[in-house]
């Protein structure tokens, strides 16, 4: 590997390393939830190396456990990943790889690796962002896949010791992030309020995948309308 590319790759690995703890934490939860939901090991592991997108994987897994329709699962996962369009748009001008080679950083472009890439690029614009992203992404990929397997195996060992309701595990996994979001981004509290209202209303009538789609679309529309009315703040 070219020394400059290697330096960028190593910078990505270094900057991405602290994030492996949360990746490992959720990798274990992911594997554990898959085992608890009765999804075969092969498919749980395959989700981690084929999809490699934490939240979309979780939704896919949860909806599979809930026996939802396959088309609905696909739609929810795709909607959830739409935010990655923005990441591509942000990185478009600073990427140096050409042609089909761009697919490699695209595969490794998660929320975390995107963040690392933009931070490193801000600190040292001379480092090639493609290789920073590959370094951070590969680091996270390795731990995400290893801990998915570990989580699945952990369930086989400790199933009787930790028999938790699936819906509780899901809600508890994300409640902290919801609280953090509400504290850190006061401008998003309107979105959270509208989404809560829609969730509480639809929860009486409909299944989880329909509810998820409607809530996400409603939240997005609300944010756009509010921005259009109030202007760019």
């Amino acid at each position: 590997m070219d020394p400059d590319n290697k330096a960028a790759f190593v910078a990505g690995v270094r900057k991405g390393t602290p994030l492996i703890f949360s990746a490992a934490f959720f990798g274990i939860i992911f594997g554990f939830t898959g085992a608890a939901g009765g999804i075969p090991f092969f498919w749980v592991s395959a989700m981690s190396y084929i999809i490699f997108a934490g939240s979309a994987q979780f939704i896919t897994l949860v909806l599979l456990i809930e026996q939802e329709q396959l088309l609905a699962i696909l739609v929810v996962a795709v909607i959830l990943n739409l935010r990655h369009l923005l990441y591509g748009a942000v990185l478009h001008d600073i990427m140096t790889l050409k042609g089909i080679r761009k697919l490699l950083p695209a595969y490794f472009m998660t929320d975390e690796s995107f963040l690392v890439t933009t931070l490193v690029h801000k600190e040292d614009p001379k480092l090639r962002p493609d290789f920073v992203l590959l370094g951070a992404g590969l680091t996270l990929w390795v731990f995400w896949n290893l801990t998915t397997i570990a989580g699945y195996l952990l369930y086989q060992v400790g199933e009787d010791l930790l028999n938790l309701p699936d819906t509780f595990v899901i809600a508890a996994s994300f409640v902290g992030f919801l609280l953090d979001h509400a504290v850190r981004y006061p401008q998003d509290r309107g979105i959270l309020a509208i989404s809560t209202l829609v969730s509480l209303t639809l929860g009486w009538f409909t299944s989880s995948s329909v509810l998820l789609i409607v809530v996400m679309v409603t939240g997005a529309i609300y944010a756009m309308v509010r921005m259009a009315v109030e202007g760019d703040k």
């Binding site: 949360s22 934490f25 009765g38 999804i39 498919w43 989700m47 084929i50 999809i51 490699f52 979309a56 599979l64 026996q67 696909l74 795709v78 959830l80 990943n81 739409l82 935010r83 990655h84 369009l85 923005l86 591509g88 748009a89 478009h92 990427m95 695209a106 595969y107 472009m109 930790l162 309701p165 819906t167 509780f168 595990v169 809600a171 508890a172 994300f174 409640v175 902290g176 992030f177 919801l178 609280l179 979001h181 998003d188 979105i191 959270l192 989404s195 969730s199 929860g203 009486w204 009538f205 409909t206 989880s208 509810l211 998820l212 996400m216 939240g219 997005a220 944010a223 756009m224 921005m227």
Partner: protein
């Protein structure tokens, strides 16, 4: 499970492919119209709405009915101030599970 291996394989493969395409599409080509602030704001709002959709119904509803007097609800509610005080927001599951186990044990 009622899904066949073929269905699971196709689903996971399609989501994986769609994920790469979504991530790659603007790396390859960025139209000016996609750069609109309103569209960006709408996409930015999706994760926040998604968090609510994952937490609120899964916490409060059981079989499309609100049931508040449950150990799971108490555990999640009690975990909130703990996370706020310690600022360990990523550890919601750890806090909630420990509280759940303690309440179940009591």
């Amino acid at each position: 499970m009622s899904y066949t291996s073929t269905e699971l394989g196709l689903l996971i493969g399609t989501i994986g492919l769609a994920t790469v395409v979504i991530r790659a599409i603007f790396l390859f080509y960025l139209p000016k119209s996609a750069d609109h602030p309103l569209i960006k704001r709408g996409m930015e709002a999706v994760p926040a709405a998604m968090l609510v959709a994952l937490v609120v119904p899964f916490t409060l509803f059981v079989d499309q009915r609100i049931e508040l007097l449950r150990t799971e609800v108490y555990a999640i509610l009690l975990a909130l101030p703990l996370m706020r005080l310690t600022k360990k927001y990523a550890y919601g599951l750890v806090f909630a599970v420990l509280i759940y186990l303690a309440l179940t044990w009591v």
